[in-house]
């Protein structure tokens, strides 16, 4: 009886150890993911973002900054996949934020709809590039008045992203 009981104790201890090891491994993986995840909330990005196609610097004083990294060469940046982006852009620019469009190269800025005012960057500063490190398109980020990232999403936006971004923006 005692040996059987001891056996159950042993299994109990062993399983507890396995649980602890699994939790520790998961924590390590999550930390590694967090370390390589681009654009975490709280990170500052450079406000001297770049030059618009008209050769002007970005206007300042906006309530928040909505930045989109996109390209005409990216199928997932097309209008078909951009409904949530369009809604988010409309909602936030209507509340005094600015919308900034950045593309990887000089000639692949996605066309605007001509209705929502966008600041379309023909070129960026190295400080802005270093502080954002966009690696794929599309990427959307939302920064506060002081260019501190408050929300970001890599990939196509959906309705849930739209709701989350608007909620976090505080409007």
């Amino acid at each position: 009886m005692m040996s059987r009981l001891k056996s159950v104790e042993f299994w109990c201890f062993l399983l507890l150890m396995v649980n602890v090891v699994t939790v520790a491994a998961d924590l390590y993986f999550r930390r590694a993911i967090a370390a390589s995840t681009p654009l975490p909330p709280g990170q500052m990005i450079s406000g001297r973002a770049g030059i618009t196609a008209a050769g002007k610097a970005l206007t300042s004083g906006s309530a928040c900054h909505l930045v989109r990294y996109a390209s005409t060469n990216c199928p997932y940046c097309s209008a078909r996949y951009s409904q949530a982006w369009d809604d988010l852009e409309r909602a936030l620019t209507g509340k005094g934020c600015d919308a900034i469009i950045v593309s990887p190269y000089a000639t692949d800025l996605p066309p605007g709809d001509g209705v929502i005012p966008e600041q379309r960057l023909a070129a960026v500063s190295l400080q802005f590039m270093e502080s954002t490190r966009f690696g794929s398109t599309p990427i959307t980020l939302l920064a506060d008045r002081d260019w501190k990232i408050i929300w970001s999403r890599v990939g196509v936006l959906d309705e849930e992203d739209y709701r989350q971004a608007v909620r976090i923006a505080g409007f």
Partner: protein, 176 residues
Amino acid sequence: MRIILFFAVLGLLIAEAFLLPRTIRDLKTMRKMRAEAASEAGLPLSLSPFAGFDTKGRPLTLVSDDTRWIVPVMIHSERLVSDLDYLNRLRKAAPNKALTLVGVCDHSQCGDGLPPGWSSSFPLLAYGSYAPLTEIARLDKQNEVLLMNQFWGVKQSLRRLASPEALATEIQRVTQ
């Protein structure tokens, strides 16, 4: 006592069944992200199309009809004068018009720190296309510069040697 331990074992098994799939999923995500980061380690094929602007937002003409090779060199704001001197000496050591040198500022106001009356023999770029800047900065961190043809096609990377004259000799050797 036994029944308590039995339920403890059962509980721990259920906890493990809950934890393990999450851990495996996180392991896969971590591996994917590391693989994506590693794929950026090679040389790009091209930096074209590339647009450059000066500190006042004026577009720069970076390539002329004579250009056969382009070498963008990073100008670090913390050692602005020595980097500008490096580029000037590189220009003197490689005066051939076939070689276009471009100073790429790591700060959009780098022209403001120039000594009075200073003039450069190369364009100073304060703003540029996003993806090409990423590559130029990445190689600069490895103490390398890119050698490109007149169409911004990458030929190879070169060590940014301490002596600009030695780098000029290396560029001449590679482009002959």
